[in-house]
Amino acid sequence: MHNEAMAVTPHESHPHHPALAHHFDNLEQQTEATTLGMWVFLLTEILFFGGLFLVYSVYRYLYPNAFAAASHELDITLGTINTAVLIGSSLTMALAVRAAQTGARPRVIVLLLLATMLLGGVFLGIKATEYLHKFAEHHVPGPYFQFEKEYFREAQIFFSLYFVMTGLHALHMIIGIGIMLWMSWWALRGRFSADYYVPIEVAGLYWHFVDIVWIFLFPLLYLIGRHGVH
């Protein structure tokens, strides 16, 4: 932004922090407003994914046995590994925010952000492998779908929801990795300090939100009726 803003403004005797926008009184107020604004955005995201969870709940209520049978086709090991990977990425994200908060050197922040992106990449790689299996096994809804006759129609509803929900989740992860690249660039340019770290803080809120969506997707998609059926 403008580095010359460091200069003393005409009506004030103390210099402005270069990151302080003119419509805020001070950095603290700016941080609070930014954080609240991010939360308001996340609330719209909760209801966005909430609609999908609602559709899932209605169809699972209507076709419990078909959902259990279809859920059995998902790889529980890969699902569990991915859950752990994503939780790990949330840890490195939280540590990256903390590094910025404590005024750590840019290199430390960037390394933690890189670890977050790397774990996000591992998650997406495992997800891609799972998708490939689904295509190979003809479990993608449509003309080539194959499933036991009894649940042929209803299982397609499950797999449609599986692809839409995990696909939108993966899209959020890809956007998240983009945001982390942006934050790394800013960190390298030395834009963050113990006084000003709110961009990396709200980027962290976004990343943790995407983690939470997966925390619910995992049991609802992978863990239905593992004890019974078959």
Partner: protein, 97 residues
């Protein structure tokens, strides 16, 4: 500053609990608990999400306004889910299919 600095020990502890809970939820899925399987899965997921929100997302240390906004979002989600599901569960849509 509003930025409360959380000790790294807290982050590692939360990380550990989240991993243990993930293991627990997969193990519980293999037990036959009837309808309680879904309840247990959702309770564990809810507990994990709460830990992430409170500690990783700093809501425990944030302003009351932020806390209110988060609770408001949760409340609206519950309205969406419960009112629609009470409808589906009491009107016997199944008999039309």
């Amino acid at each position: 500053m509003s930025g409360h600095i959380v000790p790294t020990r807290v982050y590692y502890t939360i990380f550990g609990i989240l991993l243990v809970m993930t293991y627990l939820t997969t193990q519980i899925a293999y037990l036959d608990l009837g309808a309680f399987n879904t309840v247990a899965a959702l309770a564990i997921a809810g507990f994990k999400a709460t830990l992430v929100v409170l500690f990783f997302m700093h809501v425990k240390y944030s302003t009351r306004l932020t806390k209110l906004a988060v609770l408001g979002g949760l409340y609206w989600l519950l309205i969406l889910l419960t009112i629609t599901l009470t409808d589906y569960m009491t009107r016997h849509w199944r008999s039309y299919g």
